[in-house]
């Protein structure tokens, strides 16, 4: 949709469609929250948790990459900051992971502003490569610093299960709810933003920077705010992941592959849409996990052939994302 046609479309119809999304979201989230009562298989719950986490991460990425059109391929940096802040504060200082996530989110938001200050003048692929490079610098620092534990990583002690420590022994349901909560929060923020001045600005910036500037949109400021929000949520996800796995090292939370995997569900589901990240994650994560679990043990590499091939096919067959399979009015 171009800027002019967007601004010209009657606000009432947009508002009504916008409200309808919320009516759809409530039952979806409620159903997902009830799933642990019906589903007891630990493995499937694990797949569900990862699906929700990736949906949340893709939703966060979508705020900057989808709505604002700034294709960041360095979100692993923010994920890592969240994971390390949460882990180090808990393991070394006994500060609850919840506090660590808040600290991580704040640190990430500040980092994203600094990155934005440096990189938002870059266009297209130059911006994407710059975000990769900055994330790699972060990885190198964490890898070689003393206070992060370097390559040895940091293990969470096995003790004191409960909501305070975010450790639940064998139980998976609490993690489902936390991941779902994170996803719901990112969804809600996206939903609120869609209908706010910020949202108009971002879509305007994405559609046509020059036209947006001529209409008085604060291009740079709106990009910066998108980056900060996106990075903060990604960091919370990193903190959650650290608590969930109870062990982190630089390779397992900060490599380039993560940056791609955060963007992938949004792209496959429908970039710059409210539901795209969840739909993409619902397809992608179970596919990843199941091909690896049930085919990967052979060591033949065929699981990667299927996984890679399907990504390719979906990207080519549905360039607008899987969401475009649905009729327009229900989107």
């Amino acid at each position: 949709m171009s800027l002019t046609s967007f601004l010209a479309s009657p606000p009432s119809r947009f508002a009504a469609r916008h409200r309808r999304q919320l009516h759809l979201a409530v039952p979806v989230v409620a159903a997902l929250a009830a799933l642990p009562f019906a589903l007891h298989d630990v493995y499937l719950l694990n797949v569900l948790i990862l699906t929700l986490l990736y949906a949340a991460m893709a939703q966060s990425w979508n705020i900057l990459g989808g709505y604002c059109g700034q294709i960041s391929l360095g979100h692993a940096l923010y994920f890592g900051i969240g994971a390390y802040a949460t882990t180090l504060l808990w393991v070394n200082h006994g500060i609850t992971p919840w506090g660590g996530m808040v600290v991580g989110a704040a640190l990430s938001a500040v980092t994203a502003l600094a990155v934005g200050r440096l990189c938002f003048r870059l266009k297209g692929h130059y911006f994407s490569i710059a975000t990769i490079v900055i994330a790699e610098i972060g990885l190198l620092i964490v890898h070689n610093a003393e206070f992060t534990g370097g390559a040895l990583g940091v293990q969470w002690p096995i003790a004191g299960d409960g909501w305070w420590s975010l450790q639940f022994g064998r139980a998976k349901a609490p993690y489902v709810w936390v991941a779902l909560g994170l996803f719901a929060a990112t969804w809600l923020v996206t939903w609120v933003i869609e209908d706010s001045p910020w949202g108009y600005w971002w879509r305007a910036v994405k559609d046509d920077v020059q036209a947006a500037e001529s209409l008085g949109v604060e291009v740079f400021a709106s990009k910066m705010s998108a980056a900060a929000v996106s990075a903060a949520f990604t960091a919370v996800g990193g903190g959650f992941y650290a608590a969930y796995v109870a062990y982190i090292d630089p390779e397992s939370v900060m490599t380039f592959r993560f940056s791609l995997l955060f963007a992938l569900p949004a792209v496959l589901g429908g970039i710059g849409t409210l539901w795209g990240p969840l739909v993409g994650a619902l397809v992608l994560v179970p596919l990843t996990e199941i091909t690896r679990s049930y085919m990967g043990g052979s060591g033949s590499g065929l699981d990667l052939v299927i996984y890679g091939g399907l990504i390719m096919v979906v990207a080519l067959a549905r360039p607008e994302g899987l969401l475009s399979l649905l009729p327009r009015r229900s989107r």
Partner: protein, 414 residues
């Protein structure tokens, strides 16, 4: 039902289908093996599969070998139950390792788990096993931190990095006492858990025992080029170069040394890449005289028949000799089978107690060890590492003296 619900329902059905797997039969003992089966270390996983399958073959069949559970078919106290292995791929990722451990435990109903090569993955898999009160045998993860977490279900029959490095320095001390000139060492290690653990101990031991560290080179694993790194080694020209590197970097290190015209006076490796066939196939001619620490001594086969037989069986599957890693994997499964048999039960706690009571004399293993007896922390302290030297195209054991078949050639390029 609108199309979105169809989509959601489809995804759920897919996951449920995958979950519905047949429970294991009663006359078999299912053991999970978690290894890297894809990614940069996939060859390790493929070799581990051959080693563990060889071990299972020995447990399940009747073999006239002086190894635990070899002479009987299956596990006698469990009515001859056979071992069935289920392999899972962790891709070097601690999160995937943990998820696979949970799957093996809850869906495949495994009795115990063996793994995992990467120490980072062993950390999360062992914690998961602890949660489920199921024994975890770390076959080949050598980070010393693993047995220091107070886990009750963690067992490691083989040595950890501190023991390996201590043996290397014991050997240097002995050479020095015999009048050889060894004053300086150069550390060369990758920036991973393995390299960091290994070099930390080596640096400490060098300081304690009066060797000067003249080069301390930490490099990025799988680096496109190691020229500057090798130049640092060359400039320092230490009496002993001590690499801690995996296959890719070991290959590149040796090639680059040749290209820069650097012949180290001596090389003493922390195994890893320097026990892999691929390295010796490609650059073996430049490694004449290389000393490596090891858990395994193939030349001991002359004294102990079981080693030769097991090696032949393994070679028939994997087209290569047993090495430092594969011997430990093979041994780990036998240790586990022995404990399950003595426990006479598939109950995790009972097997755990049986493992804790393990007492296998060295002669009844394929390893050059004194015995397998676990301490309270699950670490076997009686698994003395050996040093092997690459001479005339094959490895010979040169240390400790009790096990060694011949004296070390030192200096290697002398």
């Amino acid at each position: 039902m609108n199309r979105r619900e169809v989509l959601f329902g489809g995804a759920a059905a897919l996951t449920l289908m995958a979950g519905a797997r047949a429970a294991s039969a009663a006359d078999e003992v299912v053991i999970g093996a978690i290894y890297p089966m894809s990614g940069a270390n996939a060859q390790i996983g493929v070799d581990a599969r051959h080693a563990l399958e060889t071990a299972a073959e020995i447990v399940n069949g009747v073999h006239d070998l002086d190894l635990p559970t070899a002479r009987t078919a299956g596990l006698p106290k469990l009515g001859g139950a056979k071992i069935r292995l289920i392999f899972a791929d962790h891709q070097g990722d601690p999160q995937k390792g943990r998820a696979e451990a949970e799957r093996l435990i809850t869906q495949e109903k495994v009795t115990a788990i063996v793994g995992a090569f990467h120490s980072s993955v062993s950390a999360t898999v062992s914690a998961t096993c602890e949660r489920y009160a199921l024994p975890y045998v770390a076959a080949d993860s050598s980070s010393p931190s693993l047995h220091r977490r107070g886990l009750k279900f963690f067992f490691r029959p083989a040595a950890h990095d501190e023991m390996f490095s201590a043996a290397m320095f014991d050997f240097l001390d002995e050479q020095k006492k015999a009048g050889k000139k060894i004053e300086t060492v150069a550390l060369f290690f990758e920036d991973t858990i393995f390299g960091t653990d290994s070099s930390n101990v080596q640096r400490k031991l060098a300081g304690e025992r009066g060797y000067k560290v003249v080069a301390d080179v930490k490099y990025r694993a799988n680096s496109p080029s190691l020229t500057s790194e090798v130049q640092q080694l060359k400039s320092a020209d230490a009496d002993v170069v001590m690499p801690s590197s995996y296959t890719t970097d070991a290959l590149l290190l040796v090639k680059t040394m040749g290209e820069l015209g650097y012949k180290p006076k001596n090389m003493m490796a922390q195994a890893a890449g320097f026990s892999e066939k691929a390295v010796f196939d490609a650059v073996g001619d430049r490694l004449e005289g290389l000393v490596s620490r090891a858990s395994f001594a193939l030349d001991l086969a002359a004294k102990r028949k079981s080693i030769a037989v097991v090696n032949d069986m393994f070679k028939a599957r994997a087209a290569r000799d047993l090495n430092d890693n594969t011997s430990r994997q093979f041994n780990a499964l036998l240790v586990l089978a022995d404990a399950i048999d003595r426990a006479g039960s598939l109950d995790g706690a009972k097997i755990r107690d049986a493992l804790a009571a393990t007492d296998i004399p060295g002669e009844q293993t394929i390893m050059p060890w004194r015995a397998i007896r676990f301490g309270a922390d699950g670490q076997n302290e009686l698994c003395d590492p050996v040093l092997i030297q690459y001479l005339g195209g094959k490895f010979v054991t040169v240390y400790p003296t009790g096990v060694a078949l011949q004296a070390a050639k030192w200096p290697m390029n002398g």
